[in-house]
Symmetry: C2
Subunit: 585 residues, 2 copies
């Protein structure tokens, strides 16, 4: 039945642009059918023959082969954030800027970054990102810019923007794929030397760099790097635009000067607001709680330590010599046995012992928050609201990796139409369409996340938070309504993203729990504010009643009790006092 249907369809040509809304299979005129058959004969016939023969284990084996990681990502380039031209431009800018900021901070240099985008033709853009970082040594340049899975950050546990050794090479690969142009790099590591100028491109079948040009050149900065990538892109302002990304980056990185020359000729300058380096992250060793059996076994096999207890002490964080001895004892293994000769059964005993031992949480100096104050200031710079609150949680751990969550909230924009709305459930539930949805701003290690909101742990934690408790209306499984901006920042030595394009945080339960707690903290503060606002309003209304009706009560009392005018005045005034005192604003 199915096969019949297909064969019939196969006889027909079909609208390539797919605009046809016809649902039923209409037979095409005979002539077109013929043309179709004729043009496609060679291909179709070949494939037909293939179909007829069933595959065998041998024929299948003949086709099996290695897949280069570059081929893989070239085909799956949406995994890296290159789904469409607009997003491609943003992703390329993002990867270059992330690298620049990381390099500067690692060298303790306050970052000055210049981003220039030039439109070459309708769909072709050239993107130039220059930083005042330490520069890159010559022999590393080709690998860094034209080899996927190459870098310094993957093997270390340290808070940084880049982590995978994919991003900038992927942007270069996308440029090569869409425009054929190589990546151009100018880098200077020493003010006493000239800069190096490279043109490199990736060989996707081998995942290796190909150097097209290599010469010395001048560079206006004493040290620094400039990367130029030409790609097929699309420039469009608004949400999820390059402009949006740069603005949000400036917001979360007040120690950075960013000059952005947009393709439309405008220049946006974000001046440095804090003149000292922010928190400088340090590298840590893995925490024993986050290490699985298999990994523990592997680490033991590769350890330089001569004794089991030394292995535990040296290769993990928070394991003192005393604690290492205690773990060995609990596992009934000799502290003097050699780690390399550990069997899988012994590793299992060790693993169980580790998880039964109380070990201090990993050191928290490896991750740095933006800070409650700074977050509130950042919000105030961006939006003029009635109410602000922020919360920085203490660091905790998922899979042995320290992380911390921060949240900030801004409520009641002055510019919105529903200005003055107190956001109470009663008032807003009536016409939910008039209320805007909450705006969610997500950051990971100070990098704004603009795409895949729905897939993000931050989104999940937010929609699972009952905002009605805090005075906002919210439909089930949705974002709350109201003129509210919620900012959430995750800082970690290893941020678990849902894809290589680093757009959304994976749903680790520990992370979701912490995000919820941070959101709840902001929510409680907002709720208090909103309840107070509502009480004030209700009180105002009641006070109005008192003022309206008291004179009549006075008159009535005068008649009943035969009071003098003076007495009436006193009674009314005292009644008013008493009535108002029974309510507190």
């Amino acid at each position: 039945m199915i096969t019949e249907k297909i064969d019939k369809k196969n006889q027909m040509s079909f609208d390539f642009d797919g605009n046809s809304e016809t649902q039923t299979a209409v037979e095409e005129p005979e002539e077109i059918v013929k043309a179709d058959k004729k043009t496609a004969r060679s291909n179709t016939n070949k494939t037909r023959v293939k179909t007829a023969a069933a595959a065998t284990a041998e024929s299948m084996a003949a086709k099996q082969r290695d897949i280069s990681v570059s081929e893989f990502f070239a085909k799956n380039r949406h995994l890296l954030g290159f789904d469409n031209s607009r997003k491609a431009l943003l992703t390329a800018v993002k990867e270059a800027v992330d690298n620049s900021l990381d390099a500067c901070e690692e060298a303790h240099i306050l970052p000055d970054v210049t981003v220039t985008i030039k439109q070459i033709s309708e769909k072709k853009f050239t993107l130039i990102v220059r930083d005042n970082g330490p520069g890159i040594v010559d022999k590393q340049i080709p690998n860094i810019f034209a080899k996927l899975l190459y870098g310094s950050k993957f093997h270390s546990l340290k808070m940084s923007r880049g982590q995978q050794g994919i991003g900038i090479s992927a942007a270069g690969m996308y440029g090569l794929l869409t425009t054929g142009e190589p990546v151009q790099i100018i880098s200077r590591t020493d003010k006493r030397k000239k800069a190096s100028h490279y043109h490199v491109q990736i060989d996707t079948s081998k995942n290796k760099p190909l150097v097209v040009l290599d010469e010395a050149c001048d560079f206006e900065l004493p040290t620094g790097t400039q990367v130029t990538i030409t790609i097929e892109g699309k420039y469009q302002k608004g949400k999820q635009s390059v402009d949006d990304y740069i603005a949000q980056t400036a917001m979360a990185n007040p120690h950075t000067t960013i000059i952005y020359n947009a393709p439309d000729g405008e220049t946006h300058k974000y001046q440095r607001q804090i003149k000292k380096m922010p928190f400088i992250p340090v590298e840590i060793k893995p925490h024993p709680y986050g290490v699985e059996l298999g990994l523990l076994y592997k680490m033991a096999g590769e350890s330089n330590a001569k004794r089991l207890s030394a292995f535990l002490h040296q290769d993990f964080s928070r394991v003192s010599s005393r604690l290492a001895g205690e773990i060995c004892k609990k596992a009934k293994l000799s502290a003097n046995s050699r780690p390399v000769s550990l069997t899988i059964k012994e590793a299992e005993l060790l693993h169980t012992a580790i998880n039964e031992t109380r070990i201090m949480a990993p050191p928290v100096n490896c991750i740095g928050p933006i800070g409650e104050n700074e977050l509130e200031q950042g919000m105030k710079r961006t939006v003029d609201a009635e109410f602000y609150a922020a919360c920085t949680r203490r660091p905790t751990v998922y899979r042995g990796n320290p992380f911390l969550i921060e949240a900030a909230i801004a409520y009641g924009f002055k510019s919105e139409q529903d200005n003055g709305n107190d956001g109470s459930a009663k008032l807003t539930a009536g016409d939910p369409d008039k209320q805007p949805q909450m705006e969610l701003k997500r950051f990971a290690n100070r990098v704004p996340l603009l795409y895949q909101q729905g897939a993000c742990a931050i989104y999940k934690a937010n929609v699972e938070t009952n905002w009605r408790n805090y005075g906002l209306s919210q439909s089930k499984g949705g974002l709350p309504m109201g003129s509210v901006i919620l900012l959430v920042h995750i800082a970690s030595v290893w941020v678990p993203f849902t894809s290589e394009s680093k757009e959304a945080i994976a749903h680790y339960p520990e992370i979701i729990r912490e995000i919820k707690l941070a959101i709840q903290e902001c929510g409680r503060k907002l709720g208090m504010y909103l309840r107070r606002q509502r009480r004030i309003r209700q009180e105002m209304v009641k006070r109005g009643y008192i003022e309206t009706y008291l004179p009549y009560i006075g008159e009535a009392l005068q008649e009943i009790l035969l009071l003098k005018d003076e007495q009436v005045k006193t009674v009314v005034s005292r009644l008013k006092d008493v009535l108002e005192k029974t309510r507190q604003i």
Copy 2:
């Protein structure tokens, strides 16, 4: 400011389990602080020293190195669907079953698959998947099961479940990481020979297989493969469970017998319902419209063709010799020039010419739908509803890859509490909380997608469809409400997933558009049904009025016109006929 805060925090120990709800930083008692300092001294001091020294280009270069693809995925294992124990069990089953079904179909064998899950300890499960496929030749077994990015499907454009050469090796790697156990494979390719028995494990630092055991053994089937993986997992019934996955797989693959021995001792048997092979997909060449400049340039450089026109004709689908000549002419390039010597400038001319030439859409015999009838049958098997509809769209193309979309809808479950509700916007808008949300069932190449619904193009297309037009209530940006199940299937030679775990479809505009059209088609059918139902009900109500009030009208007429009883009866009866005729049911 930030640094100060951190340093302070660093002096404190903190709840490892993170249960603390305290938001303000409370100083811990002096004793604990001391203990903390002492235990962590060695680590912390080391890292402190590191921080003090700023990195230079040289020190950074020293740390840069290759990252093996296995290391990458071991660290980012949530990308492969191993976020947590429950999902890990599901993903492992899914990868093994997908491989089994693909192998059987490729060899034109009706699949018999047995899935057995045994619980070894609280968190440890052994999973055994056996198929009657063609088996795997000895020398390929280690690579297929213990090397990432190795397979036969990546380099071909063909509709199949697996495509990346990652899945089953990743499941094995996760098993190794969490339990230390190797993957066990028994495979037999010839009934005259014994089967091969292998134990293999992946060396993650090199992404290479390590063979632990290799011997001959008996196997109860003439040909076939059995894979055994022991992993840390969690078995829990309900949505997104292994049970759910197996049931949905059976639904979309009626030509398959699946026997599932669940860990709780229950056996679920899904008998084959169609005794012939479904559509057998063929492999196609890339379509010229989907090839970007860089790829075109690369393909030309690697082509075996001697002439440019032959390259276009041989290496692409739907390019006849005549059309190849036309393209060369349009690009002002000689049809006889050698493809390998094409320059990037010439490639650009060729690329432009291709996109200005009308080329027939790719052959559609490479993808097979489940079929409208089969989809409706499948829905009927799963749910007892009032109304069903299905729609199979004609194939179209994204980035040169043919794909097609199918949708099916079931409305009004008999078992739901809001039985009899006609789903009209008026009736349901009143109490949206009482209505359930639409259930969305997503399939890609007949594989059910259970996770990351929010990130999926199918979800996006669905929430962007205005279901109010079709008589369902729907809040902005949400799923419609009502006892409705919507099934959407995408079949393609290359399904673009948002991550390697293949859980959601990427947001390609062409795909979203087609999904919307398929959904709209089902929606229109549902809308017609619902409007008809509503008319019937309204008519019933009106008929009730007529029957109630006609006798009184009769009496009134009798008085006014002085009619006899007989005449009244006739008038009333005729009035009734006339009134009813003016409305149509």
